[in-house]
């Protein structure tokens, strides 16, 4: 969940620029960037197409799973809803660089109460997955959440439709990969994303997978510029994935965030940071 939906709305017109990075530095160089992006986007058309296809595929799954989730909520099947919840969200989290392109839709689907409070909004404005998460885990009920569930499905479908229109650029991918890891570093690793369900490791894994997908698509291009970077990134992804695998459950899910010790989160956080540094160098393919 982006902490600055307002800025995202402003930028929505030029989606190719929608990184999380709102620093002045990026703004002043955005003109140059835009030019660069358009001139080289032709060379990377294959990669860009592949990524868009991936994102749309994730969105399709997201709709299917969200539909199941909403049905379970409305049927009052708490157990089933709890099972589907973290899995459905992974499709969203994997394709977040694109899914969160829409500053209005993203908070409707993915806002945490804390995000709304930052915006001066309150619990009455709250919608989406995390609101139902509160119901399921904190209140242990689904009653009263039927409308939210319907709205969630409608918003998700709208998102799927709008993703179709997104102009994906190499920049979307490069910035997106780093943003995915930044998401992990700032909220997933601290357990602040899923404060009721504590299913943060699912989001964590999905974010990493999303970044890894971008790397995989761009791999040949990077290989042409700097084979060492490919080797480094391959190793660093492996290190993060190996660490995460330690917390996998028999059914393929992940243990609760609350079961992690300080040492566990520190090791995860360091592995992610060690991955993020070389990942931010993928932009050399534009040189």
């Amino acid at each position: 969940m982006k902490a600055t939906p307002f800025a995202a709305v402003l930028l929505a017109g030029s989606i190719l620029m929608t990184g999380c990075n709102n620093s002045d530095d990026t703004k002043t160089s955005s003109a140059a960037k835009k030019e660069e992006t358009t001139t080289s986007s032709t060379n990377l058309q294959k990669e860009v197409d592949a990524y868009k296809k991936f994102a749309l595929g994730q969105m399709d799954h997201f709709i299917v799973e969200t539909d199941k989730f909403v049905k379970a909520v409305k049927a009052g099947d708490i157990k089933k809803a709890k099972e589907i919840y973290p899995v459905a969200r992974m499709y969203f989290e994997r394709s977040e660089p694109i899914a969160e392109s829409f500053g209005d839709l993203d908070p409707r689907i993915d806002a945490r109460l804390a995000d709304l409070k930052e915006e001066g909004q309150g619990v009455e404005d709250w919608t989406g997955y995390h609101k139902i998460e509160y119901g399921l885990w904190k209140e242990n009920k689904t009653k009263g959440y039927e409308k939210t569930a319907d709205q969630l499905l409608a918003d998700s479908k709208e998102l799927r439709a709008r993703v179709e229109t997104v102009e994906v650029t190499p920049d979307t991918m490069l910035t997106g990969a780093v943003d995915l890891l930044n998401e992990v570093s700032t909220s997933k690793i601290t357990g602040e994303e899923e404060i009721y369900s504590h299913t943060d490791l699912y989001d964590f894994k999905a974010n990493v997978e999303g970044a890894e997908k971008i790397f995989t698509i761009l791999k040949d291009q990077i290989e042409n510029k700097d084979p060492k970077l490919v080797k480094d990134l391959t190793e660093k992804f492996e290190a993060v994935n190996d660490l995460l695998a330690k917390y996998q459950t028999k059914d393929g899910g992940y243990i609760s965030y609350t079961k992690l010790t300080k040492e566990d989160t520190k090791a995860l956080s360091e592995a992610v940071n060690h991955l993020g540094e070389p990942l931010s160098q993928m932009g050399i393919i534009m040189e």
Partner: protein, 425 residues
């Protein structure tokens, strides 16, 4: 770290012969074997990177000894203790080779790396020191005992026998989060942001190769009287460093600070040992202690810094002086009395710190990042043992962190940090 960087160095057309000259053939062989040409060129692009002697407020990187030891103490420190993640000696060597030109650039007051036109990658330098001059930045590197215990690095036989974790001292309350480390980087400058920038960029450039174990920022304020720098005061308001050896007196420094050839492992000649202690000072209790008691604790007068019963800061301590009744003028439990009694000397180069609030007590977490340099850790151990349980100061302080590092000798132009360690076979 990118290919581009290497290519730029390649453009400089360093011939193999030149490289041999710069490094000594042996080093080249080793480094090439270890890392391929890229690493070598990066590390040995040093004919390009020199100390810019015309730069304002600059301390030289190259020299017989590392900077930040005999350098006049600056006003800020950022001290970092790191663990290494690299798994071979050659990777460790590459790390120090990679750090060398960065340290030179930063000590010249320059940004690191070369500017890139590519706005799609993050800038090489994190940038917060842009527009600031060198501010007498010094960067001092050392290695801790634990580094030599990592089997995969194969350094065991190079470990000096005096490089051991410091023994437990009476009243120590060491916390793991402020203790030990494989490598230390001590960055000192006359600007806190310049010091922090140096460590931040070295660690960032070493991403995946080191992890931050603990760190501590510190400050010093240096009064100037008649154009002369005076001894800085610690947070108890007493002068700290009065008894230091004269840093430009080579004999004094050789006696106290610099490891002499034959003293230790050959790679340590010209180096020194750094002791770091994070000492919490209980400001609240100190501040309600009567002045006479404060002075009896130190064994000196607070304002002048003079030994008790004397006038000038630099007058001899003479701990055996007695008053008319035959009682010692400098109390036998005072900090200075006990330290003097040990007959050991060291170079203190400490900084104060304030790091928020102690969780358990709601008091200041403030104190002294004690740093001392000595040619053998024994000197520190001797003093600390002499202070022991007797030291009146114990009432007001708690040692919470501790580390010992062997600081490499100075770096010659064309060489790199710690080269002697890697070339000793």
């Amino acid at each position: 770290m990118t290919k581009t960087n290497d290519e730029r160095l390649l453009d400089k057309k360093i011939t193999r012969r030149q490289m041999m000259k710069m490094t000594g053939a042996g080093a080249v062989g080793l480094a090439i074997g270890a890392s391929g040409m890229g690493g070598v060129l990066k590390a040995f692009g040093k004919d390009i990177l020199e100390d810019q002697s015309t730069v304002a407020n600059k301390v030289d990187f190259y020299g017989k000894h590392q900077s930040g030891i005999s350098t006049a103490v600056q006003t800020s420190i950022y001290f970092a203790s790191l663990n290494v993640l690299v798994t071979s000696k050659s990777q460790l060597q590459e790390l120090f080779q990679m750090w060398t030109p960065l340290a030179v650039q930063m000590m010249n007051g320059d940004l690191i790396g070369t500017a890139s036109e590519n706005a799609l990658i993050p800038p090489k330098d994190t940038g917060e020191a842009k527009g600031l001059d060198a501010n007498n930045l010094t960067i001092t590197f050392g290695v801790g005992p634990s580094l030599f215990e990592k089997k995969e690095l194969g350094l065991a036989q190079l470990k000096p026998k005096e490089l051991q974790d410091l023994p437990h001292f009476p009243k120590d309350q060491l916390e793991e989060t402020f203790t030990g480390g494989d490598i230390c980087i001590q960055a000192c400058a006359d600007d806190p942001q310049v010091a922090f920038h140096a460590v931040r960029n070295l660690i960032r450039a070493a991403s995946g190769k080191v992890s931050l174990k603990w760190s501590q920022a510190g400050f010093n304020s240096i009064p100037i009287k008649n154009g002369k720098k005076e001894t800085p005061r610690n947070l108890f308001a007493f002068k700290d460093g009065t008894e230091n050896p004269i840093t430009d007196n080579e004999k004094d420094m050789n006696e106290v600070v610099w490891v002499q050839p034959g003293d230790s492992k050959p790679w340590m000649a010209g180096g020194t040992y750094l002791v770091a202690r994070r000492i919490q000072m209980h400001l609240e209790t100190w501040d309600r202690t009567a002045l006479r008691e404060q002075e009896a604790t130190f064994g000196r007068h607070r304002d002048s810094g003079a030994p008790l019963g004397k006038k000038g800061e630099f007058e001899a301590m003479d701990i055996d002086r007695k008053d008319a009744n035959g009682n010692p003028i400098v109390p036998e439990t005072s900090h200075t009395f006990l330290a003097k009694k040990s007959n050991a000397r060291l170079l203190r180069r400490s900084f104060s710190y304030s790091s928020g609030v102690m969780d358990a007590t709601g008091t200041f977490d403030a104190g002294l990042l004690f740093i001392s340099f000595q040619k053998n850790p024994k000197q520190f151990i001797k003093i600390q043992n002499s202070l022991g349980r007797l030291d009146k100061m114990n009432e007001y302080i708690t040692h919470r962190g501790s580390a010992l590092f062997a600081c490499f000798p100075g770096i010659k132009k064309g060489s790199y940090i710690g080269e002697a360690l890697f070339n000793t076979l």
